[in-house]
């Protein structure tokens, strides 16, 4: 895929950080197409090289169209979920995120990670911006946890066999360190398909 511009479909769950995710991906060299979550159908995977599930308010169960489409996703199409986007992936794999004791709205947390894929080249414990009321410490079947925070909550998961990856933190937040490395790593992971 090297040298080719990757095209991303960003499913917008009406979070207020959507255009910063667009900017984050564009700065890394991707072209981004925004799709309203209410317009998501089974054909959503036909366009673009990969799909990003945006953050958003509420519980994953509220986003039926995204959940239904994810169930029919072609195995090789990469999907990256951010915050609610990751929670949607987990919910589909029967992990229910629940209210967390320490709400992390607008705070940065240290991220312990595996140093590979998305986190390649990043120092252990780098700080990342958080905007979640819900979370989980459990890892669903098929997924591998690739990052956790100091409280033991899941901060990153990957399912390589189904090309799914998700993070609980917000990589586009100005509170997140090494934003451009994260974006470059994401595009490399997508490009490897």
């Amino acid at each position: 895929m090297q040298g080719m511009m990757l095209c991303c479909t960003l499913i917008d769950h009406f979070d207020s950080f959507t255009y910063s995710i667009v900017a984050w991906l564009e700065e890394a060299g991707a072209a981004v197409r925004l799709v309203n979550y209410r317009q998501v159908g089974a054909d959503i995977w036909a366009q673009g090289d990969f799909t990003v599930l945006s953050p958003g308010p509420g519980h994953p169960a509220e986003y039926e169209k995204t959940l239904a489409a994810l169930g029919g996703k072609p195995v090789s199409h990469p999907v990256f979920g951010i915050c609610l986007g990751m929670q949607i992936m987990l919910y589909q794999a029967s992990i229910n995120c629940t209210p967390i004791p320490c709400i992390m709205h607008g705070k940065a947390a240290g991220i312990a990670h595996n140093g590979q894929d998305l986190f390649q080249g990043l120092p252990p414990g780098f700080r990342a911006g958080q905007y979640n009321s819900l979370g989980t410490a459990e890892c669903p079947p098929g997924f591998t946890v690739i990052a956790r925070d100091g409280e033991g909550m899941v901060q990153g998961v990957v399912d390589k066999s189904r090309c799914l990856m998700g993070v609980q933190f917000h990589p586009e937040s100005f509170l997140t360190e090494h934003r451009s490395v994260l974006a470059a790593n994401l595009l490399r992971w997508v490009g490897r398909g």
Binding site: S16, S20, G106, G129, S133, L175
Partner: protein, 374 residues
Amino acid sequence: MADPVLVFYHSGKYLYSESSELYSCCAPDWRPFLRDLAHRFPDEFKVIKLNFEAGFNGLGVDGEIRQTPLHSRYPVEVRILHGFDVIDEKELRFRLRNSSCSLKEGFRPLVSREDYHSSFNKVLQAIVQGGFYQLNLTMPFSGRYEGGTAGAFVRYHRVFRGDFHGMMPLEDGTLISMSPELFLEKRGEKLLSRPIKGTVEKAFGSDVQLMESEKEAAELAMIVDLLRSDLNSVADVRHSRVNFHRELLDLGDIWHSWSELEAESRMDLPEILYRMLPGASVSGCPKRRAVEHILALEPWCRGFYTGVFGWWRGDDARLCVLIRSFMLLSGGEIYYHSGGGIVHNSQLDREYRELLLKARKISLWAPLKNPFSS
């Protein structure tokens, strides 16, 4: 004589006009209205006011507005200045030296403590369930005044510190802005915004307390991230960046914390405003869901309050967020609104007390003589 139009310009100077024409618009999409005025009056300064509700169409807010209007029926109002002077503070004092105004009845809240309590709890519950991260809950206060509206400007100009003071006669009354918050400065393609979140009254706390507060830090960070995204939604030349974050703003009797963001865009002002309103710092986060909750929780329309006000000419504009601002109706009613951001660890008593404290400050307004006449 009709009230003059007075608006902050730059470097402490004001635009002052006694010759202007008022245009109003009720259309949900007001971009064509503004573009038409820009086309007809390309060289004139336009002083513009957009209500909080003017931002709903661009944001895509669902549901009808069932709140009761108090004032400002026209969501968008523009005064075309046919003649104006650029004046400094000294000249401003001189020109308004004969204006006088007094408060006949002090301000009282139009929302009871019980109703505020109930809305507050609904916000906290929704935050814990992941509904949103922050919501700006506000309420109106009303009082009665006697005298000229320019006199009221003079009095509050003394009480409030801030770079965005102004006065604009409108269809339904006169708007007085005492705002300290820059919503948008546009110089050609370059856009600047300086959101404010975090307050400590010097009488009750210190700047160190403000800077060490994790709650205040998180609230401002949230608004900065929200505003970054709003700016990125129009930034077709250069994405947004944070120039400074969490510096102290000294407003005499209070400390605030604020940040500065920048982006570059080739879009015209109507398009930029249409995409960015309502302002991040006065709605909540995520913005759309927060605004939908505000509609259900606040019984009165905000009108001018938390809208934007300022001037526009050609590719340049300067607009403030309409906080710390007043509406004076010709029947003698004066309105003020106040509010605060509710986050998961907000405390009811503290938030309500702060609202009442703010109202007491504006009511300490005895019928004294004009301070500029001395």
